[in-house]
Symmetry: C2
Subunit: 154 residues, 2 copies
DNA sequence: CTTGATGCAAAATATTTGCATGCTC
DNA sequence: GAGCATGCAAATATTTTGCATCAAG
């Protein structure tokens, strides 16, 4: 996993490059994504920031604006499925894909090298310049499967 | 590609099984998804139905309710990315994944057998009962790449 | 200081829900 | 006929935007 300080420097570098400003709010959004394992909705991130930095006022609009910025610059990534809506996580982790339990919402990250390689091939086949990809496998996780068995005995 | 009549029978079968009713509205949503190549937002589907069957009143709420039903039963699938929001397409096509051009929004469908196989392996590795999966490769399509070159000469 | 960023509230969207009425079965 | 489905409108939820003000560079 990347160091937080690296991401912070990246953010500063990007902002400088685009002549944008480094603000406490932008830093807080990045930090919230980094310091909390998981995949959050904009609203959850908003709440996280308020919990971590009660002294700092952060509007929900700023959270949206910042997430869009971070995603555009690759510092954050979004994933969405079913009713859960759009959720963000820190980008620039080691690349990975997701297993999502449709019952409890649990998200497991994984990487499969063979799949990674094949994607490149697909891009070439369609003369597509790949910038990113995501793969989601939906199903029922081990724990839920067990729970279901118990419940269905009744 | 599956026959429309097969999908229609499937829908009828499922509805009967769940003691739900087969209505013109439900049929229209399925038909709109089937007879229009593409990936539509609920609102677009609503418009398509109104265009195809002006005599039938269909509320947007019904479209949402029906799409949720179809998705739950596997007759429709949804995909979402970036600003485009949630889009639906007919399910039970031959399975495929998506290449999405982030510039023009074009969606290309593809299948790669190796990738398909590896997914099973991943499921087993995490003791996950796979019910579905989606893979999106984002990038710039051939046409956009060419257009960009031209424009950037200026 | 200059210019972009922010909070706030309002606006625009998107989605869901309650309920009287209409249609399947 | 009984009960689910529908349309409609209202209620929610989600995102975006305008603008006066604030703060980074």
């Amino acid at each position: 996993m990347v160091e937080y300080s690296f991401l912070l420097d990246e953010l500063k570098r990007i902002l400088k490059e685009k002549q944008l400003k480094f603000t406490r709010q932008r830093e807080q959004v990045l930090k919230a994504l980094y310091h909390n394992e998981g995949h959050f909705s904009p609203e959850e991130i908003h709440r996280l920031i308020q919990a971590e930095s009660p002294e700092l006022k952060v509007g929900i609009a700023t959270v949206y604006r910042t997430l869009a910025l971070l995603e555009e610059e690759g510092l954050a990534e979004s994933i969405s499925f079913g009713k859960a809506g759009k959720r963000y996580e820190i980008g620039m982790k080691k690349h990975h894909d997701h297993l999502i339990c449709t019952r409890c919402g649990k998200i497991i990250e994984f990487v499969d090298e063979v799949i990674e390689e094949r994607q490149e091939a697909v891009g070439e086949r369609f003369e597509f310049t790949i910038t990113d990809h995501t793969m989601k496998i939906l199903g029922i996780c081990k724990e839920c499967r067990e729970t279901m068995n118990i419940q269905e005995h009744s």
